[in-house]
Symmetry: C2
Subunit: 341 residues, 2 copies
């Protein structure tokens, strides 16, 4: 994890973070000077330097802004959501970008929240009980539902960074939510691809993928009644896995409550397989789902993508957007199946 640090380059804070679209292609970036001041426990080329008082531990609530969600209550919370003190986005009154011109931008207006995964100082989600992960899923759902009500429409991204090489700056397990006033570049590409496939084939591409993977079997890591874990066919990283609901469902926050403990169980088993099989790899995961303000849709299917960050990203990947993965996904699936959990 690298944090920008060049003392002789004095950066003037922007009054507001800004979204900018690349002049050539449909790729957005956030320019946010607010990120410069954030504390990091992990420094490059050195051991972790834990903060004297972890702001995410129970009992240290005064170190964070007031919670926007707690479960079950403020005193004995298991999961707690707070605004990020060093946000990448701010406010939510932003104007949306102009539709034309080379220099398109928009106020980076949205929420940036930290979803503290547990009250005690634990760095790995794989060591939380499955039912605790179900609590985390409920927190994700509650925040997505809240965002679905806001105006102007918000496009939320829920993600997690575990380990400094995966971009974590603090050790205590936490996910994050960043919402944007514009469709996030990659999610928009997936939504459009789902639309196109549905128009051409009359079916959900993810439903077809699940059917094809189940009939082949070689990339299936595990199945429960309602969920399937796949070793991704075109995995960008060693042992990249996706969790999908077997029945079509467009929105993560609309998983029925009775299915949430099962998702916690499946997710926990996958995290334990990865931790045991791959020596606690640095890890990112994120939710790809339909915009929460939108109606159910037949052409998109929510899923979780889990990326063990076991290979680096170099010039070729930035030039081409083609990752090089040294681990065949079929072998990753067989290996993960062999790990006892």
């Amino acid at each position: 994890m690298l944090a920008f640090h060049v003392p002789e380059f004095r950066i003037e804070p922007l009054s507001r973070p800004e979204l900018r679209k690349d002049p050539i292609i449909d790729r957005w970036v956030i320019i946010s000077t607010d990120r410069l001041g954030r504390p990091v426990e992990f420094v490059e080329d050195g051991p972790a330097q834990p903060l004297a008082r972890c702001p995410f531990c129970r009992g240290h609530e005064a170190l964070t802004p007031p919670a926007t969600y707690v479960s079950p209550n403020e005193e004995s919370w298991l999961v707690r959501v707070v605004p990020n003190t060093y946000p990448a986005v701010r406010g939510r009154t932003g104007r949306v970008a102009a539709a034309t011109g080379l220099f398109q931008n928009a106020e980076a207006a949205g929420l940036h929240e930290v979803i503290i995964a547990c009250p005690h100082h634990e760095g790995s989600l794989s060591r939380l009980p499955p039912l605790h992960l179900a609590e985390l899923v409920l927190a994700f759902q509650a925040r997505l539902r809240h965002l679905g009500m806001l105006e102007p429409p918000q496009f939320p991204v829920i993600f997690n960074n575990q380990g400094p090489a995966a971009g974590a700056s603090l050790e205590h397990a936490h996910a994050q939510l960043i919402s944007l006033p514009i469709p996030p570049s990659l999610m928009a590409r997936e939504w459009q691809a789902g639309e196109r496939y549905y128009r051409d084939q009359g079916r959900c591409v993810f439903c077809d993928l699940i059917e094809a993977e189940r009939s082949r079997g070689e990339r299936v890591v595990e199945e429960s009644d309602r969920f399937i874990v796949l070793s991704a066919y075109a995995a960008r990283f060693p042992a990249e896995c996706w969790i999908l609901p077997k029945r079509h469902q467009s929105h993560f926050e609309r998983i029925e409550p009775s299915a949430v403990p099962e998702l916690g169980e499946v997710f926990s088993r996958l995290l334990r397989r990865l931790d045991r099989g791959l020596r606690q790899p640095p890890l990112n995961f994120y939710v790809h789902s339909s915009p929460p303000f939108a109606a159910e849709r037949e052409d998109y299917h929510w899923h979780l993508e889990i990326l063990p960050r076991l290979t680096g990203i170099a010039g070729f990947e930035w030039a081409a957007d083609v990752n090089i993965n040294p681990v065949p996904p079929e072998q990753a699936a067989a290996y993960l199946r062999s790990i006892e959990v």
Copy 2:
């Protein structure tokens, strides 16, 4: 820089590397077990461990396969190109992917070469004389011209990794060339965007960008007679810069020889600004150009993109393909202009 290393997971070598397309979107990956054995001088969480004999130093030619290009000659070469011993792609007789179906793939058939930038053990391109960088440009051009002749058509990517955090595994300065039998995902998106803009506006989007940036001035780092250096409007990393020819030109390898020394000079000055201003940052650069087998085109304009890797890539970026950059590009441009070179 992370290299995959989990000894208890024994990976069966593939007979050939494979290209796979994501089942949902148009994004390719290379699955290549050949990459597993490569030596690394940089290890995670530790000091560099230089190889006893650097295979890239003059006098150690026996440690590499025979050269595919030397300049000016084998005995006193300044730039030398050799096949990569741990290639991501191999051969060049690959069948191209099927056009339909969820599991599209292709043989990863192409060249993977190392372009050794200098005969002595030097880690930073910024310390080479400008005329030496011109030699490097000539080597890039020669290999692109060679690839333009091959059948089936090849799509080359020329790139560089400097510093372990940017993905370099060996210290001695070198660029690389990987060619694919299919259009690299991101370059295809740029070519399509250029086509669309040309259809709509009747002009090259890069020519319009250069005109707009010159009239504003705030993101221009420097200009020479023929080239311009821009701090990218939607920079993904702090001080991301692009070098473009001011007159329209679709192919990097068609830069007229008389202009190559000037490009070496401009490139060298930019590298020195970045090294002095940003404390020798980890760095990637790459060439975005038209396919070398193709005719001149009015709708695409070659350029070099230089990415100082001063911020990490975490879950949000993988989820959304939206980078968070804490440094406003206008401030980066002003700062780089202020660095004496």
